[in-house]
């Protein structure tokens, strides 16, 4: 089963996305902060990380940078907010090596497509 790590500080988002992908036969782990995600990555190696940009504490961009320091081949897609400066991570995420990004509010089938595409690759 492909493994997906969802990192988001909003409980509702974590639960919803986890259920959504579990139904699609994906092994989902969640983390509620960048710090928690980095700790998890010491012992686990997911096939893909879905990472929210706007989080309390360490934000998604910094988390992405550190994830890439741990494992430069780790596949990460970013979930970005409505504000223009957040949209497409303001270009920064590509520099740190994110694979893709999805803008909130998002189309669920687009989310499904993007995640499945990168998980299967």
């Amino acid at each position: 089963m492909p493994r997906l790590l969802i990192v988001d500080d909003e409980k509702d988002v974590r639960e919803f996305a986890a259920n959504f992908f579990r139904k699609r036969k994906i092994d989902v782990t969640t983390a509620s902060s960048g710090e928690e995600a980095l700790a998890l990555l010491q012992n686990e190696k997911p096939d893909l990380i879905m990472l929210d940009i706007k989080m309390e504490g360490m934000d998604g961009i910094e988390t992405l940078r550190r994830v890439k320091l741990l494992d430069k081949d780790m596949k990460v897609i970013m979930v970005t907010g409505k504000k223009p400066e957040e949209e497409n991570c303001g270009g920064k995420c590509a520099e740190y090596g994110c694979l893709d990004y999805i803008n909130k509010p998002l189309e669920l089938d687009e989310l499904e497509d993007v995640v499945l595409k990168h998980l299967m690759n």
């Binding site: 509702d12 988002v13 959504f20 909130k104 998002l106």
Partner: protein
């Protein structure tokens, strides 16, 4: 489905039409549906007119899938949105609702056109993604304003015909409410713009008077702001008449109080010395003249009282009518003090202005004579608090 909650929902929908914050009421409706109809979850996708997309605004459910607010959207080309905007629901079903099970049955039917079938298949897949069993569109005329999505019933029963009919009626009420709220918002925006235009026009007029009167540069702006300060102080002391509307009228009265000077010859306005005889009379006419100029503007009714009577005196010795005490409208009494205070503290070619302390002392001496004592007190307090 029992009759009592039906009534509750109906009355909620009726209230919605009156309330301009639809979000609150939509939440209420969704919550009620979840609790009373006992569905696992319910969600509403609303049309975001700015971005022209449908955003999942409310989602509730104890058991079912709870989509975080603002997380999901459906674009216009989304299969479910297309299904409704092309009114394929009417073509395939005759009750304005898509029921997932009915859709699955229909997909097995070979008589249906292949293209239509594909559309239905894509639309029902969208329902699947949201774990919904029923999708109810909300139309205002031909415009799809939103979609209500309902999950499975808690006891796994199918939805009854009467229930579905009721949801359709509810959806149309919701559409009306949303539409009303949008119209109301647009109207408010337009009103705000018109109000700004009016305020700026008034300021321009006030500047025209100031330009004519060389001695009083900036006088109008200072009188207006001091008047507002005084009124706010009166408001702090629970003066009943002071509310937002009053402050608005006072602002216009302040800006326009000397507009009648437009009809006073410049030789008199700018005379280097005391006015005598006819000159004085001409100058005093500016109060009545101002009110006559503004009289056609119905909206300025209260402000005009300020313009007309700002030279009346508390003891009845002022002009144009010699009003006394409380006969003088509050708006005029306030401007009168602000006007005098500014005149006293401004330098003139033939005399130097008084200090603030001296002006306040003079106004205090005139309390109950030239000025209304209550307003004098407010001015003194402002001075003591270093606000003027």
């Amino acid at each position: 489905m029992t009759i009592d909650y039906k009534k509750e929902l109906e009355s909620a929908a009726k209230t919605m039409i009156l309330v301009h914050d639809t979000q609150v009421l939509i939440k209420l409706i969704v919550r009620m549906i979840v609790h009373k109809v006992k569905v696992n979850h319910a969600a509403i996708l609303l049309h975001d007119t700015e971005k022209d997309t449908y955003v999942l605004t409310v989602s509730r459910g104890a058991r079912g899938l709870k989509v975080p607010k603002g997380f999901a959207r459906m674009d216009k080309d989304n299969a479910l949105i297309q299904f409704f905007t092309q009114r394929l629901d009417e073509k395939l079903f005759n009750h304005g609702v898509v029921v997932y099970e009915e859709a699955q049955e229909l997909l097995k039917n070979d008589e249906i056109d292949a293209h239509l079938k594909q559309m239905l298949k894509d639309a029902s897949y969208q329902m699947e993604i949201f774990d919904s069993r029923v999708a109810i569109p909300s139309f205002f005329r031909d415009e799809l304003l939103g979609i209500l999505l309902l999950g499975q019933k808690e006891n796994n029963e199918v939805f009854g015909r009467d229930e579905l009919d009721f949801f359709v009626a509810l959806a149309s009420d919701v559409a009306m409410a949303i539409r009303n709220a949008q119209l109301f918002r647009d109207l408010e925006k337009e009103l705000d713009a018109k109000k700004r235009l009016f305020v700026h026009t008034t300021i321009a007029l006030a500047a025209a008077i100031d330009a004519k009167d060389h001695y009083t540069h900036g006088h109008t702006a200072r009188v207006t702001s001091l008047s507002l300060e005084i009124a706010k102080k009166l408001g702090e002391r629970n003066h009943d008449a002071i509310n937002e509307k009053f402050l608005e009228h006072l602002q216009f009265a302040g800006l326009l109080h000397d507009i009648g000077k437009i009809g006073v010859p410049e030789s008199i306005l700018n005379k280097n010395g005391t006015l005598v005889g006819d000159e004085k009379k001409k100058m005093q006419e500016h109060a009545l003249l101002g009110s006559a100029i503004l009289q056609p503007i119905k909206e300025l009714e209260t402000a005009i009282l300020g313009v007309k009577y700002h030279h009346e005196r508390y003891d009845g010795s002022g002009y144009p009518e010699g009003l006394k005490g409380d006969q003088i409208p509050l708006v005029a009494s306030i401007i009168s003090i602000a006007d005098s205070f500014d005149a006293m503290t401004t330098d003139r070619p033939y005399r130097k202005g008084l200090s603030r302390q001296e002006a306040v002392d003079e106004i205090r001496r005139q309390s109950g004579k030239q000025f209304n004592p209550v307003i004098v007190e407010a001015l003194v307090e402002l001075y003591q608090e270093n606000k003027i």
